[in-house]
């Protein structure tokens, strides 16, 4: 296989990782909403933790996206 096309396939494969991160972020917000609707008075206090979890989870998707970009553009 010629290296240019292998690079493109690799970038496509790396982008699958962003979907996995999407599952994580969806799970995070879903669970938060579930907890928040059970005890709405405690929900506001946990907002910082929610955002922290979001940033840490989202970063893993960004890692996959980064690999895809590096394969595409360098």
């Amino acid at each position: 296989m010629d290296p240019a096309s292998a690079k493109l396939i690799g970038a496509g494969l790396a982008a699958i990782g962003t979907g996995a991160a999407a599952i994580g972020v969806g799970n995070l917000f879903g669970q938060f909403l579930q907890g928040a609707l059970r005890n709405p008075s405690a929900a506001d206090g946990q907002f910082g933790r929610l955002i922290f979890g979001f940033a840490v989870t989202e970063a893993l998707g960004i890692f996959a996206l980064l690999i895809a970009f590096l394969l595409l553009f360098t």
Binding site: A55, V56, A59, I62, F63, L66, F69, F73, T74
Partner: protein, 247 residues
């Protein structure tokens, strides 16, 4: 399509050679100096009045101070407040660098792994030095959690050591990758607009990626703040490990 990596190029502004090392003043250094001057200038201007009832600009300074102080107090306790100047300068520098990078055409300092790795190494070695200086060899209790059966203890210790050693890697790559990928994404969507405009009758679709780029810019502002917050938050947690190992 224009090359989206081009924006991360480093140009020499003032070439300096020191003992055979290339220590030139580059556009990266320029933006770091700008970030520091911006923070210092902001605090000098905002705190000049020092009134008991803060003016608008003074309350911004106080809120940012209280924000970082609260973060450190919550995760490292009152004994952690000694390291407040370190944590606060770290937060303000990363935040200012990220925000400067959001200006179109500007250079993002934190999109280079060498900068974030230096910051993460600074945190890592601070934690090591503080941990051993405060607790002596008790610091090693960090790797030995209490209440673990003796049979699986070697495995747990190995995992704890590896996770401790991989901290600076994940700490630096998180910030770097977020800024790099975000800025590349913005550039790619900008490239779509240009490509569609040059595509004859398809140019009617050009506002679509433009609207997406605007939405992504808003998301990038959020990410620029969040990543500064996360970096500082993790620093606070690591400092907590150094001050209270075995908790």
């Amino acid at each position: 399509m224009p090359d989206p990596i081009h924006q991360f190029d480093i140009h020499t502004i003032i070439p300096i050679k020191l003992f055979g090392w290339d220590v030139s003043f580059t556009n990266s250094s320029l933006y770091m100096v700008l970030a520091v001057l911006l923070i210092a200038g902001f605090y000098m201007v905002s705190m000049r009045a020092r009134s008991l009832v803060p003016t608008r600009i003074q309350s911004v300074a106080e809120i940012s101070h209280e924000f970082v102080a609260g973060m450190l107090r919550d995760s490292a306790g009152h004994s952690g407040m000694k390291y407040f100047p370190f944590v606060f300068s770290l937060f303000m520098f990363i935040f200012a660098a990220n925000m400067l990078g959001m200006i179109p055409g500007a250079f993002t300092v934190t999109s280079h792994i060498v900068v974030t790795a230096a910051l993460a190494a600074l945190v890592f070695f601070t934690v090591l030095v503080v941990g051993f200086a405060k607790n002596g060899l008790h610091f090693l209790k960090l790797f030995v959690p209490e209440g673990v059966p003796i049979l699986i203890l070697p495995l747990v210790v190995a995992i704890e050591v590896i996770s401790f050693l991989s901290r600076p890697i994940s700490h630096s790559v998180r910030l770097f990758a977020n800024m790099l990928a975000g800025h590349i994404t913005l550039k790619v969507f900008g490239g779509f607009v240009v490509m569609l405009l040059g595509a004859g009758s398809y140019s009617i679709l050009a506002p679509l990626p433009l609207a997406f780029a605007v939405a992504l810019t808003a998301l990038e502002f959020l990410v620029a703040f969040l990543q500064a917050y996360v970096f500082t938050m993790l620093t606070c947690m690591y400092l907590n490990d150094a001050l209270h190992p075995g908790h």
